[in-house]
Amino acid sequence: MIAPALIVILVVVIYPLIYSLYLSFNSLLLTTPGKQQMEWIGLGNYIDLLRDDLVYISLKNTAVFTIAAVAIEFLVGLLLALIVNRGIKFDRTVTSVLLIPMMVASVAAGLMWRYLLHEQLGAVNAVIQWIGFSPLNFRSDPLLAMPTIVACDVWQWTPFMFLLMLAGLQSLPRAPFEAATIDGASSLQTFRHITLQLMRPVILIALTLRTIDAIKTFDMIYTLTRGGPGTLTEVISYYIYRLGFWFYNLGKASAYSYVLLIIISVLCYVMIRQLRAR
C-alpha cells in the first residue's frame, strides 16, 4: 500500500535531488541561446563558489538572521507557553489568536509588514511622526534592514515555538513536580531542574525545526528587502534564486543548493545524536 506514495516521492523528491546533484557538476547557462547544452566541469561550480564573495556574505547573513530570530522566538514562545500553561481564562481564544501568524502565508506576512513600515504611508511611521520624530526607512536603512527581517520572522514564527512548548508542557508528568514541592524547591529551582530537563527533547526538536526553516527563508526576503540594501540581507536561498533565475547559471545555483542541503543535513544529524544521547 505504501508503493504509490513511495513512487511519487521517488519521482518528485528523489529525482530532482539526483538531477540537481548531476547539474551541480555541469556548466549550464541559459543566457546564451546557442550554448544551452550541459558540459561536465567536475568540481568547477564548487570551486567557483569558494571564490565568490557573495557566498560568504550570504552564509554570514543567514547565520545572523537564523540565530537572532530563533533565539527570540524560542524565549518569547516559552514565556507565553508558561503563562498559558499555568491556567488562564479564555485560553482557547488566546491560543487561536496567538496561532494566526504561523498559518498566514509568509508572503502575506511580508507584504503586511512592508506596508506597515512604509516610509511615507506606513502606520508605524505615522505614529513615529505623530510623536515628533522623523520617519524611519526600515527596509532600506543599513542598520534597520536585518532587524526588520528578524522582527517579521519573529512575528510569524514565535507561534510555532509557543505551540510546541505548550504541547510539551502539557505532556509533562505530574509526579516530579509534586516531589519538588514536598522537598521545598523554589519555583525557579523547579523550572531549571525539572521543567527544562523534562522539556529537553521537545526544546531540541523545536529549535532544530525552526533553525532549518529559518536557514531556508526566501519569501520574507523577497517581499521585504530583496536582499538589500546592497547585500545586507542577501541570504542563501535568495542568492541561489538569483544565481539560477537572474544570472541563469543553473549549474552554480545547483551546487550552492547542495551546499545548503549539506548544512541542513548536518544540523539534522547533530539533533538526532543529541536526542539519542539522553
Binding site: 506514495a5 523528491v13 503563562i83 509568509s106 507584504l111 510546541l164
Partner: protein, 291 residues
C-alpha cells in the same frame, strides 16, 4: 505556612496580572498588522492616505477593482486586475494537490501505521524530505517542466507541491491512524471484510477528524506556497501569493489593492484557525512531542 499555601494554590496575584499583561501585549502585536491591513483594504484609493481617522470613507472599490468589477468614475483612475483568474488558479491547484496528497499519503500512512513498513526509520526518512530546501528542488523541477512544456500550467504546481505535501500527509496521517485501535479493523475482517474494506469503511471513518485536519493543513500549505508558484507560473497562471507580490512592482504603491489581495489570501487561514484549532494543533505538533 502562609507562603507555602500560596505556592500550592498557584502563582500570586501580581505575577498573574503580569502574565495577563504579557498575553495582551502579545495579542496586540499579533493582531496589529492584520487589523491595519484589513482597514487599509477598505480605504479610498485616491485619498491622501494619511492616517486621519476623521476622514475615512469606507469603500469596496479596492476589492471591486481587484476582481475587475470597478466602474470608471470621473476623476478616479481605476485599474482593472484579473484577480478572478488568480483566485481560480489558487483554488484549483490547492484542491487537486490536497486530494493527491491525502489519497497517496493515507495509503502510505496506513501501511506505516499497521504493517510497520520499514520500521521507525522509514517514517523519519519520509518526514526528513520536508527538511529539504525548496530552492534545491525548484531548479530541476523548473527544467523538467520546461522540457515537458508544462511551465505556466496548473500541473506544474500540482507536481511541485507533491514534494512537500505527500511526505507531510503521510507523517501526519500515520499519527492519526496510530490512535485508531486495531480491534475495530480486526473484528471487521473477522466478519468478512477485506483489508481494503476495513481501511476504507472502518479506519478512515474513525480517523475522519484527523484526515480532515490533515487536508485543511495541506490545503493551506499549498494555498500559501510562494517559491514554486513564483518560479513556475506567471500572470495568467499565477496563484494569489504571486499575483499579490506582483502588485508591488507593476502598479507603484497600491496599498488599497494589495491590502485587499492579502485579505482575500488570509481569509481561509483565519477561518481554519478558529474553527479547527484543536485538530490543527494536533496535526502540527505530531512527532515533536511524542519524540
Amino acid at each position: 505556612m502562609a507562603a507555602q499555601r500560596r505556592r500550592r494554590s498557584g502563582p500570586g496575584l501580581a505575577s498573574k496580572g503580569l502574565g495577563y499583561a504579557i498575553l495582551v501585549l502579545a495579542m496586540v502585536w499579533v493582531l496589529f498588522p492584520i487589523v491595519i491591513m484589513i482597514f487599509n483594504s477598505f480605504r479610498e484609493v485616491g485619498g491622501t492616505f494619511a492616517y486621519d481617522l476623521g476622514h475615512i470613507v469606507p469603500t469596496f472599490r479596492n476589492y471591486l477593482s481587484l476582481f475587475g468589477l470597478a466602474h470608471e468614475e470621473s476623476g478616479v483612475i481605476v485599474t482593472k486586475y484579473n484577480f478572478v483568474t488568480n483566485f481560480r488558479n489558487s483554488i484549483v491547484v490547492s484542491s487537486i494537490s490536497t486530494i493527491f496528497a491525502i489519497a497517496l499519503g493515507s495509503l502510505a500512512a496506513y501501511s506505516l501505521s499497521r504493517f510497520k513498513t520499514g520500521g521507525e526509520t522509514l517514517k523519519f526518512d519520509i518526514l526528513s524530505f520536508r527538511m529539504f530546501p525548496p530552492i534545491a528542488s525548484a531548479i530541476p523541477i523548473f527544467l523538467l517542466m520546461k522540457y515537458l512544456n508544462l511551465l505556466n500550467t496548473w500541473w506544474a504546481l500540482i507536481f511541485a507541491y507533491n514534494t512537500f505535501n505527500v511526505p507531510f500527509a503521510t507523517y501526519v496521517l500515520a499519527g492519526f491512524f496510530d490512535e485508531v485501535s486495531t480491534e475495530f479493523e480486526e473484528s471487521a475482517m473477522v466478519d468478512g471484510c477485506s483489508r481494503w474494506q476495513a481501511f476504507t469503511r472502518v479506519t478512515i471513518p474513525i480517523a475522519i477528524n484527523g484526515v480532515i485536519a490533515a487536508a485543511v493543513l495541506i490545503f493551506l500549505l499549498s494555498w500559501n506556497e510562494f517559491l514554486f508558484a513564483f518560479l513556475l507560473t506567471s500572470s495568467e497562471s499565477a496563484t494569489i501569493p504571486v499575483a499579490a507580490t506582483a502588485l508591488i512592482t507593476h502598479a507603484g504603491i497600491r496599498i488599497g489593492e494589495v491590502s485587499a489581495a492579502i485579505t482575500v489570501m488570509i481569509i481561509p487561514t483565519l477561518i481554519a484557525v478558529f474553527v479547527l484549532q484543536k485538530f490543527l494543533v494536533k496535526g502540527l505538533t505530531f512527532g515533536a512531542v511524542k519524540g
